[in-house]
Symmetry: C2
Subunit: 222 residues, 2 copies
DNA sequence: GTCTATACGGCGATAGAC
DNA sequence: GTCTATCGCCGTATAGAC
C-alpha cells in the first residue's frame, strides 16, 4: 500500500522491465481475471524473474491497480475518438450514427476491451477506486462529448441534454454488453442498426414526419 | 463435468445439506468471486465438512454452475415483477415510470443483486453458458414484457417496439451499472428521475407538443 | 538491479474411519 | 452419507548469490 508506481523505491529500476511487467500483467489479468492470475505467469509473460516483479511493484494488488489505472487513463481512454470541430455542420443523424457505431465497433473488433470491461465490472466491488477511475475517464468522456453536442447542435432542442446523453450512451453500451459481453447475439439476435435507427428517431426526428405529411413541419425539406 | 446437480450420484443425498451448500456457496461466491472463493470457506459457511461438499458436487466448477443457474432461474428471475393485466388502462407515463423505478430500486436496495451481476459480467468470458442463461432469464424477460406493452398499448405508435424496448431497458440498466455498480453516483451525481423523465418524454410525448402548438397535431387532445 | 532457490501457507481434491 | 486427516500442488513473498 506504500507505493503503486515504481521510481521511488530505493535505487533505479529499469523502465523497460517496468513496461514489460505491465504488459505481461495486462495479458494475464485481462485473460484470467484478478484472483486467478498468478505472479509466476506475470513474470513469465514479462520475461523477467518473479523477484524482479516484486522489486518493481510491492505486491499483486499494487501491480493490478497501477496496471488498470494505466489502461483507464491511456489505452482505452480515446475509444470515443477525438473531438471533431466540424460535427456541428453535419446532420445530427450522421453524427449520432457515427458516435454509436464507433462505440459498438469496439465490442466487436477489440476483444481485449471486452475483457477489460469484464475486469472493471467484476472487480468493482473489491476495487471501487478502479471503477471510479473508469467512470471518470471512459463513461464521463462519452457523456460530456455527447452532452456538449446535444447542447450546441442547433437542430436539437432537448429539454435535458445531460440525461439524454446518458440515455444514448446507456442504450448503446448496454446493447454491447448484452450482445457481445454476455453472448446475447447467439440467442437474441438483433441488428445494431435497429437500435441506432430507433435511437436517432427518438432523439432527432419528429415522430409524425415519416408516417404522414402534415404539411406544417418546418424542419424537413425547407 | 459428469454432473452438475445432485441426486444421481450413487445413493441418497440429504436435500437439506444440498440446500445448505448452495446457500453457503452463494454467500461466498457473491462476496469473493469465483476464483477467490475456496471450498473450505464454502463448507464452513454451509456448516458441513468439505468432503460432504464434494459428495454433493463433483468439483468447484460444478457447484458454481449449479448455483448460478439456480440464482438465474429462481432467485433473481422475477425482479421485473409479475405481469399486470391492467396496465393497458393506465397512462403510459405511469407504466413506464413504474417499470423503470422497479428495476432501479433493485440496484439501490439489493446489494446482493449487484454482486450477482458483477459475477455474471466478470465471469462471462470463462462461463459463457451462465451469461447466456442470464440473458435468457433476466434480460429477455424484461425485453419481452416491455415489448409486449409497447406493441399493445393503444397510445403508443412505435416504428420498432422491439428496438425501443431494448433502448429503454438499456438506458435504465446502464444507469444502474454506472451509478451503483461502478460507484458513479459519488462522482457523477444524477437524479434517477431525470433519466426516467427524459426516457418517457422521448418515447411517449410528441416532442413538439410542449414547445409550441402547431395546430395540426391530430394525436393530442383529440 | 536481476537472478536462482526457497519459505510457508492455503488451495482443490481424496482416503479411510464410522 | 458424513466426518477427520492428509496428499500434492501452487500461491505470494523473500533471502542471498552475482
Amino acid at each position: 500500500m506504500r507505493q503503486a508506481k515504481p521510481g521511488r523505491t530505493d535505487r533505479q529500476l529499469s523502465p523497460e522491465k517496468t513496461a514489460a511487467i505491465l504488459e505481461g500483467g495486462m495479458q494475464e489479468f485481462l485473460t484470467h481475471g484478478y484472483a486467478a492470475t498468478s505472479m509466476d505467469r506475470v513474470a513469465i509473460a514479462a520475461k523477467v524473474s518473479k523477484a524482479t516483479v516484486y522489486s518493481h511493484f510491492q505486491d499483486k494488488e499494487s501491480l493490478f491497480i497501477a496496471l488498470i489505472q494505466r489502461l483507464v487513463e491511456q489505452r482505452f481512454q480515446s475509444i470515443f475518438g477525438t473531438a471533431d470541430e466540424q460535427i456541428l455542420q453535419m446532420p445530427p443523424q450522421v453524427v449520432l450514427r457515427n458516435f454509436a457505431n464507433r462505440a459498438l465497433d469496439i465490442g466487436t473488433t477489440e476483444p481485449q476491451f471486452l475483457n477489460f470491461m469484464r475486469l472493471i465490472l467484476g472487480e468493482s466491488g473489491r476495487f471501487p477506486q478502479l471503477a471510479r477511475a473508469f467512470v471518470r475517464n471512459i463513461e464521463q468522456t462519452a457523456f460530456r462529448r455527447l452532452c456538449h453536442y446535444f447542447t450546441h447542435c442547433p437542430q436539437l432542442k432537448l429539454s435535458d441534454p445531460e440525461a439524454t446523453a446518458r440515455i444514448f450512451v446507456g442504450a448503446v453500451v448496454h446493447f454491447m454488453i448484452v450482445q457481445e459481453m454476455l453472448h446475447g447475439k447467439d440467442i437474441l439476435p438483433m441488428e445494431r442498426d435497429r437500435i441506432v435507427d430507433s435511437l436517432i428517431d427518438l432523439i432527432v426526428e419528429p415522430p409524425l414526419t415519416d408516417k404522414f405529411d402534415t404539411g406544417c413541419n418546418t424542419v424537413s425539406g425547407g
